[in-house]
């Protein structure tokens, strides 16, 4: 799994991330920030996907995090740094609760339950004035780092990058631990029963993973709201949830690079094709169909397939 070539890519990527803000224009920094946010969301989504569950309402947890942070900082004057932590805690806690209730449902049942939850979050945000109602809350404060307010694209990039790298590294590491390995055994109902028969507490594992995933997107959701300087019910809609699923499926759900490349490339592409509107959706959807029908593991699985084709048939 970790071949010499891909091990070198990791540090190379870090290097790129560190050098980028010094050479990029404001516009490309904007694109980079959006890419980092989407990568974070997608990686977190894949963590849940790898244990066999498709969340169609991740945007709801992003929204929960964003609104928690915004309400705390705008209405109660709390520091945005604390807002990020609170956002993670809130999303994680609610996910724990929802997970405990719904993770025993498999397949589409779970997906629809989370989807319904996402809709409820948005509906509640729309219904109450102190949550901003349909127009949301504006003038969201940005955090300061040792006195420097993260007001410019350059400064904000670092915040987005740190959070993104933290989340991605966390889930990559998680995969290597025993916890992560156990999660893989829970992918289907039958394998889950097998795992339980040897003493694995499946429910606890699944709930924990789901909660961690949602906590991560909640934290990034708080950062997201700070970037936009406002929050409203339309930003974190069902369409965002489906976008994340598309990034994950096209990029590939297994391995580290799948979600990173999927989210990264498609987001960057999307920003460029901006004025195209429906054309962007059409292109994404066509790529998605091609990938699903030809390479169901996602584009990053292509190299694996290739290698299998080229390797000598005789045993090793």
């Amino acid at each position: 799994m970790t071949q010499p070539s891909s091990r070198a890519l990791g540090p190379a990527l870090i290097l790129v991330l560190l050098v980028l803000p010094f050479v990029a224009t404001n516009y490309w920094l904007h694109v980079a920030i959006v890419v980092l946010m989407n990568i974070t969301y997608t990686v977190a989504l894949c963590a849940v996907l790898r244990m066999g569950y498709l969340s169609l309402g991740h945007a709801g947890f992003i929204a929960l995090g964003a609104y928690t942070s915004v309400v705390l900082s705008v209405r109660f004057g709390v520091s945005p740094w604390f807002g990020i932590v609170a956002a993670a805690a809130m999303s994680g806690a609610v996910a724990w609760g929802l997970g405990a209730l719904t993770l025993r449902l498999r397949g589409i049942y779970f997906s629809l339950a989370v989807f319904a939850f996402g809709e409820i979050v948005v509906a509640i945000a729309r219904a109450f004035d102190w949550l901003g109602g349909p127009s949301g809350i504006a003038n969201v404060p940005r955090p300061s780092f040792f006195g420097i307010k993260l007001d410019t694209h350059f400064a904000f990039y670092w915040l987005a990058m740190v959070v993104a790298v933290a989340v991605v590294a966390f889930f990559a590491r998680l995969e290597q631990t025993r916890f992560g390995a156990t999660l893989l055994t829970l992918k289907t109902e039958s394998s889950e029963r097998l795992a339980e028969s040897v003493g694995v507490d499946a429910a606890a594992h699944k709930t924990a993973c789901f909660a961690m995933s949602c906590a991560a997107v909640g934290a990034m959701g708080a950062v997201h709201s700070m970037y936009l300087l406002f929050v409203n019910p339309q930003v974190f809609s069902f369409l965002m949830s489906t976008d994340l699923v598309i990034y994950a499926m096209i990029g590939g759900t297994t391995g580290f690079w799948g979600p990173v490349l999927g989210a990264g490339v498609l987001t960057a592409l999307g920003e460029q094709l901006f004025s195209a509107g429906y054309w962007k959706t059409l292109v994404y959807a066509l790529i998605l169909m091609a990938v699903i029908l030809v390479v169901p593991g996602g584009l990053t699985a292509v190299s694996g397939l290739w290698k299998r084709e080229l390797a000598p048939r005789s045993g090793r």
């Binding site: 996907l49 049942y109 509906a123 509640i124 069902f238 699923v245 169909m289 169901p296």
Partner: protein, 287 residues
Amino acid sequence: MGLTLFLQALAIGVVNGALYILTALGLTLIYGILHIVNFAHGELYMLGAMLVYLLFVAMEWPLWAAVPVIVALSVLAGFAVERTIFRRLRGQWLQLLVATVGVSLIIQSVSWIAFGAQEKTVPSVLEGVLLLGSVRVPIERLAAASIAMVLVAILYLIVYRTRTGLAMRAIEEDEETARMPRVDTDRVAGIAVALGFALAALGGVFVAPIYSINPGMGLEAILMSFIIIIVGGLGSITGTVVAGLLIGIIQAVGALTLGAEAAHVLVFVAMIAMLVFRPQGLMGRVR
């Protein structure tokens, strides 16, 4: 709240419920037989409405020519999608689900491009209001509701009284059983999908004159369809009927007493509650 108001709300709820049933039937059928959640369902519904606008309004075909053409097109599309996409991904629920999402996005974006963004209207063929005491029911809605019931009846007949229907139920029950001789699984799957697509499109056709139509109307349709089939029981026709009426009434009476936003949330809460406490829905069987 007076009796008249309540009765009127009830009438609104029942008729709206029938419209919901009409909208959700296709989704129920495809899930019921093949256990595939057809995310493209909403877009097929939208296509039905768009096509009736294109043929009946823009190209001025008579209705008796337009509707069969739309049915034929959706049946063909159903067979095509089953053959190329569903069959290939059989057994992989995640890939199937995302594939239908992909199909829905393709239909949606092509429709935006082809039909443009302006809202369209299909003029009402049946104007006028039926007066039942002091309760007023618009005739065109009543007609659509009646058609919904006719389609439900036809669906029942097909599924429970024909050999194809028997084969469909056999597939649903257990694929092993279905693999016995005399049941051509592939053919039956194709028929199920074709039928599901046709029902979705017909839903759009008959609801078209009631509201305005635009390429984005599929989202609302599939949201409502999801709620109906979850509450009623995925794959149960009876469940769809019961849930449709129930949700329609809850919404109408709820909106009258609590306001539209609250009624909206109520319906989603009902959906989650159903999923948590009785995932098989009102009429579904435990799997």
